[in-house]
């Protein structure tokens, strides 16, 4: 970005006194600089306020006599005076820049939230692997695992009946993500451990299935009905995707 516009240039912009080249340069700068755009808008609004207040003002006699001697044509009081036009244009630019900034900020916040979520899932899975503790419900029978969550979670989900080859259900834990209770389903694909976190969806429906890679692990997520599901493992992506797909199809409600 070029250097900020000087006060003289900002004033001349509000007064419509810039040459074509100066105006083009100022507009290029304003397109990228919310600070100068806001300053220019203030200048234009100040000019309009001064003009309005000046209607009730009688100039000093010395100035009046100099003005009379100059014989300037009567001022134009048209609705579309340069001040209004510049102010309107600057307001549009300023509003546009503000919207762009807000969108960028929202995206940044969403990105930070997303990273924090993946980090928490990653940490939970690694803690499960490192602790090597017995699952809170130790069973490979989905008809045992699912009912175990009754009364523990404010939602319900369905486990797939048939699993791919080499994939087994090892059990499940009740745990928390972002202070919300979730079901952590534990699977094995070959010798690779998989954690599938199921929680109640919050906010708008996210249509896309997303995959995030981190430190050799893959996190796959989807939303369906009122559920958000995150699966994490270091197994081959296609095999993890096959399990995730079965879990997604099992949520028929």
């Amino acid at each position: 970005m070029t250097e900020h516009l000087s006060p003289s240039v900002l004033s001349a912009l509000a007064d419509g006194e810039l040459s074509n080249d100066q105006l083009a340069g100022a507009q290029r700068h304003l397109a990228d600089c919310p600070t100068c755009t806001a300053d220019a808008l203030h200048q234009s609004l100040l000019k309009l306020a001064t003009a309005k207040a000046g209607m009730r003002y009688t100039p000093p006699s010395t100035l009046h006599s100099r003005l009379t001697a100059f014989k300037k044509p009567a001022p134009k009081r048209g609705y579309w005076s340069p001040g209004w036009v510049v102010a309107a244009a600057l307001l549009l630019v300023f509003t546009g820049l503000t919207l762009v900034q807000q969108t960028t900020r929202r995206n940044e916040v969403a990105s930070i939230g997303k990273n924090a979520q993946v980090t928490e899932i990653f940490d939970q899975h690694l803690a499960t692997l490192a602790g090597n503790a017995t699952p809170q419900v130790l069973s490979s029978d989905r008809h045992t695992v699912k009912p175990w969550f009754q009364g523990k979670l404010p939602f319900s989900f369905t486990l797939p009946e048939n699993l791919p080859n080499d994939t087994t259900l090892d059990g499940a834990n009740l745990t928390y993500l972002h202070d919300r209770p979730v079901a952590q389903l534990l699977y094995s694909i070959g010798k690779h451990r998989v954690s599938v976190f199921v929680r109640e969806r919050q906010g708008a429906v996210k249509g896309n299935e997303l995959t995030t890679a981190r430190s050799g692990y893959q996190v796959m997520e989807f939303t369906k009905n009122d559920l958000e599901v995150f699966a994490i493992s270091d197994v081959d992506g296609a095999r993890l995707a096959a399990l995730v797909d079965l879990i997604r199809k099992a949520q028929t409600r």
């Binding site: 003289s8 004033s11 001064t50 003009a51 300037k72």
Partner: protein, 47 residues
């Protein structure tokens, strides 16, 4: 503040103001910028 009066109230161009006040156009520009800055500070202080 007479430059502001001539510019904003009388809607004169910078070269016209320069002719009335018998000063260069560049001086008109800098005086208007300084006057607006002073006006803005005064209004902010009044709020």
């Amino acid at each position: 503040l007479e430059v502001i009066l001539l510019c904003d109230v009388e809607e004169m161009k910078y070269r016209e103001i320069a002719a009335v006040l018998e000063i260069p156009v560049g001086t008109v520009m800098s005086r208007i910028a300084r006057a607006r800055a002073a006006l803005r500070r005064a209004l902010e202080g009044a709020v």
